[in-house]
């Protein structure tokens, strides 16, 4: 009955029972027993990356595009330290990940053995929880708890460190439903506890004259139903809505209530509306500094409602009037029911006045850019990419920098889970492996990594992975030969001294693609652009499209560090006042 199996077999059995279909990983000495077991089975697919950092971003892309937990398998020492960036990224952006690391056998722990490192020590602050499993009989319960913790409450990464001798040892497997996780180790929403607060919130919204919904990534993490409910509620109220970088897609770009993204490079109308609103309804966002700008001038005259699953986000940077701790879909469902039950309605005339004001702000046309000449503007490249892919099921990933912001501004998202970008940590090199993960999760979809020439080089080795697994990922490089965002800050804040932000000796991206037996394309002028994009989409292979864009284009609008929402810069002729510029300079 309780026949014993090896630790490595327990690992695979646990993954199978958890419904894992794919593992992203890289083998090494301390995980060989697990790889040996992997070899002998067919139910779980393994994607071999070219560097462990690629594995964890791929798992993130897989997780965020599918809603499942991403699984990573790497070896001890450098294998483990290489995933630290990805773990931190997943921690910041609340991505459910289970990362399995091998460890040297227990009798060698602490002896500075070959490829030994204190993995649980190093990863403690960048995981939701981590384990060093010393007893093979606890392995299955640790796995089942790890998957639960990764998905429960605010999702995040969990790491399991397994010494090699534990992988070889024999022990018993326990099934998922036999494991009881003590309640204090999980987040358990108390449905009745927040009832009063929900009533208070709904009533506050009904009395608003200038309401705005401020939507974050929490709505996406709460599942597709949450986005549906949020849309329904906003429509019922008739209020404008703005989304954070992580929340794009919760409400469709074409929705009449959508003002687009807010924050540092957000829309003028969205930031102005946040500044002037009288009731702010934050759903699943965390008042990040990229969103708020200067805190003492942040939305000074509003009552703030904050719905978040993580209590530590309440009053962390912005004090709120009505905090509600809970899962978005449950809370919003109750809000809708209550709104209908009490027959609440904001007076049409009041709302119209508010919308009139917003429509005035819209006339500023903040995304306007000069599109003269036959050189490709980066904004135009993203616009054309959108136009030529909008009727296809498309996932967009990005790296970090100017191209990321242009993608957020000019690509229009109508669905949640289609937009994968590193928001909290801002990890260059995220987009390409994330696109690989998304493509593995959605083999038939179009997956495009909108990249910069600097970012793409941070994980370019994954070309080999993409080609090996016949993943037709498209890399769309906005190539300006600069680290564009660094250059932009140097131009605005450091007197135009472009210290180390120009990349000399970039590879020939077309030849680079060809050397991996992928397809390389290039557009140098506007008349070549559409053809290149069409060809890229139609190619059933991994593609690098090297788009030469104007070199010194800046990303606007911009709230410079140290400025408030109503002090947006719309072009570079508009200078920040000296005092706040000085203050802003020390910020990131």
């Amino acid at each position: 009955m309780n026949s014993e199996i090896t630790g490595a077999e327990i690992v695979l059995k646990s993954l199978a029972e958890q419904g894992v279909e794919v593992v992203f990983g890289y083998p090494g000495g301390a995980v060989l027993p697990i790889y040996d077991t992997l070899f002998k089975q067919n139910s779980i697919k393994h994607v071999l990356v070219r560097q462990e950092g690629g594995a964890i971003h791929a798992a993130e892309g897989y997780a965020r595009s599918t809603g499942k937990t991403g699984v990573v398998l790497v070896t001890s020492g450098p294998g483990a330290t290489n995933v630290v960036t990805g773990l931190t990224d997943a921690m910041m952006d609340s991505v459910p990940i289970v990362c399995i690391t091998g460890q040297v056998p227990q009798h060698l722990i602490g002896s500075d053995a070959f490829q030994e490192c204190d993995t649980t020590g190093i990863t403690r602050p960048c995981t939701k929880h981590n384990y060093l499993v010393k007893d093979v009989n606890k392995l299955s319960s640790v796995f089942h708890e790890a998957f639960t913790i990764a998905q429960n409450g605010r999702p995040g990464p969990v790491l399991i460190d397994i010494p090699k001798d534990v992988q070889f040892a024999s022990g018993t497997y326990e099934e998922k439903n036999k494991i009881i996780i003590p309640s204090h180790r999980l987040f358990e929403p108390s449905p009745d506890f927040e009832k009063n607060k929900i009533e208070e919130a709904v009533e506050l919204i009904s009395k608003a004259k200038k309401p705005i919904f401020y939507i974050g990534g929490g709505c996406i993490n709460s599942g597709p139903k949450a986005s549906k409910l949020v849309r329904e509620f906003i429509n019922t109220v008739g209020s404008p809505v703005t989304m954070t970088l992580m929340g794009l897609g919760v409400v469709g770009s074409s929705d009449k209530n959508s003002l687009g993204m807010l924050g540092m490079h957000g829309m003028y109308e969205a930031n102005m509306a946040m500044h002037e609103c009288d009731v702010m309804i934050n759903i699943g966002a965390r008042f990040d500094d990229r969103v708020t700008g200067r805190l003492d001038a942040f939305s000074p005259n509003s009552k703030k409602i904050h719905i978040d699953i993580d209590e530590s986000n309440i009053n962390k940077t912005i004090n709120v009037d009505v905090p509600i701790i809970g899962d978005v879909k449950q809370v919003v469902e109750k809000m809708i029911a209550l709104w209908k039950e009490k027959k609440f309605k904001i007076d049409d005339k009041t709302l119209k006045l508010w919308w009139d004001k917003i429509n005035e702000w819209k006339k500023v046309d903040c995304l306007n850019y000069n599109n003269e000449g036959n050189q490709i503007k980066p904004q135009y490249a993203v616009q054309r990419l959108y136009e030529l892919t909008k009727n296809t099921k498309t996932f967009i990933t990005t790296e970090v920098g100017q191209h990321q912001m242009w993608a957020a501004q000019f690509y229009k998202f109508e669905e949640p889970n289609r937009w994968l970008t590193s928001g909290g940590l801002g990890t260059m090199g995220y987009g390409f492996p994330a696109a690989i993960g998304a493509q593995v999760g959605h083999p038939d979809a179009l997956v495009v990594d909108i990249a910069g020439d600097a970012s793409i080089l941070m994980n370019i080795q994954e070309m080999s992975t993409a080609v090996q697994y016949r993943l037709p990922v498209k890399i769309f490089i906005l190539n300006n030969e600069y680290m564009g965002m660094v250059r932009q800050w140097q131009e605005l804040l450091h007197g135009g001294r472009y210290s180390e932000s120009y990349t000399d000796s970039l590879p020939d991206f077309v030849k680079l693609a060809e050397s991996y037996k992928a397809v390389g394309l290039r557009a140098k002028t506007t008349d070549e652009l559409d053809d290149v994009i069409t060809q890229m989409i139609e190619t059933k292979n991994t593609v690098i499209a090297d788009i030469w864009v104007t070199k010194e284009e800046n990303c606007f609008p911009m709230i410079q560090s140290g400025s408030a929402h109503n002090e947006m810069m719309l072009s570079k002729d508009q200078k920040q006042d000296k005092k706040s510029a000085e203050k802003g300079k020390i910020l990131v």
Partner: protein
């Protein structure tokens, strides 16, 4: 603290000492998780005390003395609760009433000239002499931190001493029903 423009403008309450009681699963790394949260997020630990308090349930009680505005301390409490093996966090100052005590061991350098004064002072503070095989003068004093502070200050004025302190432990003194 660094005054940043990102710093919350509402932080006006005064900085105060707070005693937090944290009940945790007694598992490897749990103390590192707790103190790592403090150092990682820039909070202060004035003293820390940890010991297992139940043999059967494997639960440890951590007593942390910290200082900060009420906003900062409330953030500390919430961050502690995010740690998976943490059962509960209680701010004893908000509980209303609590009892705290700590222990100090004091090695006192004694000579014929100060002997009388030392013993008088120890008597006054009810510091108890601890017998040991080398027959050196080591006293143990227990009680509220304030009292231990006063004792140390006064004994320092008399002679040279070497001190070790446990830091305070504290418990809520509010009446509870047995069923709870």
């Amino acid at each position: 603290m660094n005054k940043s423009v990102y710093a919350s403008p509402d932080q006006v309450s005064e900085t105060k000492r707070h005693i937090l009681t944290v009940l945790v699963d007694n598992e490897p790394g749990v103390l590192a998780r707790v103190i790592g949260m403090f150092s990682g997020r820039g909070y202060n630990i004035d003293s820390l005390n940890v010991a297992e308090v139940s043999n059967d349930e494997n639960i440890s009680r951590i007593t942390i003395v910290t200082h900060g505005t009420s906003e900062v301390v409330s953030q500390i409490e919430k961050q502690l609760l995010r740690i998976v093996p943490v059962h509960s966090v209680t701010n004893l100052d908000q509980e209303g009433s609590s009892v705290e005590a700590e222990v100090a061991l004091v090695y006192i350098y004694i000579s014929d000239t100060n002997k009388k004064k030392v013993y008088q002072l120890c008597d006054l503070y009810r510091a108890r002499k601890i017998e040991n095989e080398n027959n050196t003068t080591i006293f143990e004093i227990a009680g509220a931190s304030e009292r231990v502070n006063r004792f140390i200050k006064e004994i320092n004025e008399i002679t040279k001493v070497e001190i070790v302190r446990s830091g305070p432990v504290a418990i809520s003194s509010i009446q509870k029903n047995e069923e709870e």
